[in-house]
């Protein structure tokens, strides 16, 4: 055994190498043929985040949006660069509180709507302190068994 092996770390976890090391994988035989088709693996960020500096993550709490398929504990991806429009699920600031609701607009009226029968729609009048924080683009739900 040469000295190099002797002094190598016992740690063999996944953190010991980077993606760069795997790319061409020093393979021979069958592996070498596969090398020609090597490409970057699927990266969720590519699919889920269109605008990185403007995308923020939130954690859903409560049942207000269950009708839209958003459950407590889900991760929400919120893009601030997307313009709000009727029908979009948004992070809203209403009277100083952040909340997730569906934004609805009809003629000169607008509402924030929860998707659960326990909650009433809130009409946005000139007396509300309302602003859009960002638009929810994806929610990530863990399926428990």
């Amino acid at each position: 055994m040469d000295e190099e092996t002797l002094h190598e770390s016992a740690y063999r976890g996944t953190k010991a190498f980077t993606q760069l090391d795997v790319k061409t994988a020093n393979a021979t035989g069958f592996g070498a043929a596969a090398d020609d088709y090597m490409e970057r693996g699927i990266d969720l960020n590519e699919q889920l985040i269109r605008n990185k500096p403007a995308t923020f993550f939130f954690r859903m709490a409560g049942d207000a949006m269950e009708g839209a398929g958003i459950y407590a504990g889900d991760v929400l991806l919120v893009d601030r660069s997307i313009k709000v429009a009727s029908g979009k699920i948004i992070v809203a600031i209403l009277n100083g509180e952040l909340m997730v609701r569906r934004y609805k607009q009809q003629f000169n009226k607008a509402w924030l709507c929860a998707e659960h029968k326990r909650y009433k729609d809130v009409e946005l009048t000139e007396f509300c302190d309302f602003q859009t924080w960002g638009v929810v683009t994806y929610s990530i739900h863990q399926h428990k068994h």
Partner: protein, 428 residues
């Protein structure tokens, strides 16, 4: 044309992003260890809360006016700073943006735009940064960096009129702006020079601009002063930096949470700071040629009750070979602090400074060191890799201790909303 983009009360704005309730309320952010006030919102400034003054001195004011207080949350500020800079880079091109500090960037703008176009363009940029990141910025535009700073300062001062954007592109407007700017408020004129100029009856930036280059050379620190004056006169001499400069010095220093009297705790603190500094050093692929360590003992307050800073006691050592390997740095650091320590004294602060930094590829090793070098390098890479992916220093040197009762006090820390999965904002 140059523009400076400067975030408005940056740290306070970061804290407000996830707490919209605080939008109109005074907010302050405290330094490491909750010692001093390092950032104030406009509302807090208006109340008369001082900058860089000890927190306890303003405590009555803060409690009386219900000021929101935060410990510094650098994970959050760093992430938002990246977002602001990235937004700028996407808007104007990577090579046109020079990040100047955590909350400021210079931008190189097209020289052919007329006033209206410049104004519309910067207004748009400002709007985009706020929309994407939630951070409000002020933008000053002028022919040179120094003048753009002047513009920015005025834009911030008169927010209601300027909407945080001010373009100075004609001689008349530049003159008006300089007449309203005191010499001490000119970027690059330090406190000392300002006093000197005032004694010579030069009080406004416009008066300073009337001087000749010889004057600047003689009275404002030679070539640097000359460049400052040229910039003030509208000749760009400070270009955009082509690339980020490698730091020549890396310092890690902290106040202790409570004063420390035993040698063991100080050694642990110094070892931990050294690890942190070495990590920063490796990130910029540097190696340090020398290391210094300092400690500051606690002084009893002066007879008139004023706060006193203890003397800084320091020690310096040139290393046999420039290195970035943590244990090669910890050893001399701990030795030095052992020599500095005086039993019976109470200490409130310690720090480590790495200097004479060279690129690690240029390090001259002696023949015998060679084998060692490779192995240490592997170890360091692995350690950085694990610590970076797992966070919170999973791997650390035993010299750094395990109890850390000298650790920072952070009583008003907000969650790291943008960098930790388990600290995301919970929304209903």
């Amino acid at each position: 044309m140059k523009a400076i983009v400067d975030c408005n009360s940056f740290y306070c704005s970061c804290e407000r992003l996830f707490k919209p309730k605080l939008a109109q309320q005074p907010v302050v952010v405290l330094s490491n260890n909750d010692g001093c006030i390092i950032a104030r919102s406009d509302e807090a400034k208006a109340l008369g809360v001082g900058m860089a003054v000890p927190y306890f001195q303003n405590k009555h004011l803060i409690e009386q006016h219900n000021v929101a207080v935060f410990s510094s949350n650098y994970n959050l500020y760093g992430d938002l700073s990246w977002r602001v800079m990235e937004t700028l880079r996407q808007a104007v091109g990577t090579d046109k943006v020079e990040v100047y500090s955590v909350d400021e960037a210079f931008i190189d703008l097209d020289d052919n735009m007329d006033t209206a176009t410049l104004h519309a363009f910067t207004m748009n940029l400002r709007q985009q940064v706020e929309q994407w990141t939630g951070i409000k910025v002020s933008i000053g535009v002028a022919p040179t960096k120094v003048l753009s700073k002047v513009a920015n300062r005025l834009a911030k001062k008169n927010k209601a009129i300027t909407n945080c954007v001010l373009v100075l592109n004609t001689e008349r407007r530049i003159q008006q702006a300089l007449e309203k700017t005191a010499v001490e408020d000119v970027w690059g004129v330090g406190h000392r020079y300002a006093q000197k100029l005032q004694r010579m009856d030069i009080t406004t930036a416009w008066q300073l601009r009337q001087q000749n280059l010889l004057f600047a050379r003689n009275h404002l620190g030679g070539v640097v002063g000359e460049r400052l004056l040229r910039e003030l006169q509208g000749q760009p001499v400070l270009g955009m930096k082509e690339e980020l400069t490698v730091k020549k010095m890396i310092a890690t220093t902290r106040m202790f949470g409570q004063t420390v009297t035993d040698l063991q705790s100080i050694k642990e603190a110094v070892a931990t700071y050294t690890s942190r500094a070495a990590e920063k050093l490796r990130r910029q692929h540097g190696a340090a040629g020398s290391i210094s360590v300092f400690v500051i003992p606690k002084e009893p307050p002066a007879p008139d009750g004023r706060f006193r800073h203890g003397p800084t006691i320091s020690s310096y050592m040139a290393l046999p070979v420039a290195t970035s390997v943590t244990h090669e740095l910890i050893k001399p650091a701990v030795q030095m602090v052992e020599a500095l320590y005086e039993p019976g004294r109470a200490y409130k602060k310690a720090g480590v400074l790495l200097s004479d930094i060279v690129p690690d590829t240029a390090v001259q090793r002696s023949l015998f060191d060679h084998a060692m070098d490779d192995r240490s390098r592997k170890l360091m890479d692995m350690m950085d890799n694990i610590n970076f992916s797992q966070r919170n220093d999973v791997l650390k040197y035993a010299a750094g201790g395990t109890t850390r009762n000298w650790k920072m006090q952070q009583n008003f820390h907000s969650p790291r909303y943008t960098t930790r999965w388990n600290e995301l904002f919970e929304i209903g």
